[in-house]
Symmetry: C2
Subunit: 225 residues, 2 copies
């Protein structure tokens, strides 16, 4: 490997914080990216900042995205309510249009400037809430595209999109993160986080997180309101 730099997509949530710890445990020098995309749960960026400082990362950039100006998601559009306690098998209204595609594209640009050949993202195909851009086939297609799109992909060693959580259950992710020293009280998952950083306990993201701790047999340290 030509260098040990990696770009890490860090939301401040349970999954991406675990991914950061995993990348560090593999010896990567971590350059973190967080996005302010007009999400209603904007407090999560504050959590991302704290985690980046506590984990002593090489750099942490916060990028402002105009994606909310397109509308279309309950996470960014005030006209659409975040649903409570409703789950079925269709793509949910909390899906943000092309979100992971946009996030990974920025990560690719940052990787190109850094000459980093590894991009880490905490997508998960098990508890993935039905988002199409969390599936392995999407990640593989993005990686193929990335290697045709960029100077680093065309001229050098291939770019790899690293998805260490993709086949883990939420409980397995929690157990892995605890073994790497993650303090999950510093992470958030809630789509309806209040201004003090307390979780609602009822949205889909809270429910998946709660059942992860339950299945792992670990006390849930999340601050619920």
């Amino acid at each position: 490997m030509s260098n040990r730099k990696a770009v890490i997509l860090l939301s401040g949530g349970l999954d991406s914080s675990t991914v950061l710890a995993m990348a560090q445990s593999e010896g990567f020098e971590c350059y973190c990216l967080s996005f302010n995309y007009g999400q209603k749960h904007l407090m999560e960026i504050e959590f991302a900042k704290d985690i980046a400082v506590k984990r002593n990362v090489a750099a942490h950039k916060i990028v402002h995205l105009d994606i909310a100006n397109f509308g279309g998601s309950a996470l960014t559009d005030d006209a659409i309510e975040v649903p409570i306690d409703e789950a079925d098998n269709t793509i949910p209204v909390t899906y943000v249009p092309a979100r992971n595609t946009v996030f990974l594209s920025y990560a690719l640009g940052y990787a190109e400037v850094l000459e980093a050949h590894n991009i880490f993202i905490g997508v998960n195909a098990v508890d993935y809430s039905g988002y199409p851009d969390c599936r392995p086939e999407f990640i593989e297609a993005f990686e193929t595209m990335a290697n045709l799109a960029t100077r680093i992909g065309v001229e050098g060693e291939p770019v790899t999109i690293q998805t260490p959580l993709i086949h883990l259950s939420k409980a397995e992710i929690i157990i892995a993160g605890l073994s790497l020293g993650i303090d999950y009280s510093l992470t958030v998952s809630c789509y309806k986080l209040d201004k003090k950083g307390f979780a609602c306990g009822h949205c889909e993201s809270c429910r998946i997180r709660k059942s992860g701790f339950f299945e792992a047999g670990i006390d849930d340290p999340t601050r619920y309101n």
Copy 2:
């Protein structure tokens, strides 16, 4: 075709203006996207606005991108000079990291909200300046990825990335655009455009444009300083 909406990446340049005219001539209802990415030639956005108004498009959104904050390109980074009259076969310093990937990702998000299945981009593999993200193999890989990434790709008719200029020479593009009523004095190509919208006449982009008019046997209406 389920609807005639299309997203058009419109920079205010010669190529994308021609693409807009082509999409309109095919009967598409055009939703244009321009990007403010900290480019030194920011005046081009004013040209894009004028063209969008004159061509009576359905909507025109201007998206602010944080991409310049990564550095790495002569088009956005003050520490790197835009070269004058130098061309070779390597990827030039004017390449913006992952630019078309980021642009197309936004276009994909916008298309998803609109339920538009067509995205038009004026990439060109003939006079393409050596940018890896202007090649047909990149576009094909992006399209494959887009159809795995999105609700519209997964649930409905496939998303198509339309590249009507990809195999045309600059001269052929100019001739096509003129036949569709494009006034090229309203478009800009220069990387070093001055504040009044006058082109330098010497940067790589100006040189490609000039030789296009020359080869087409058409008087160049560009305003040079």
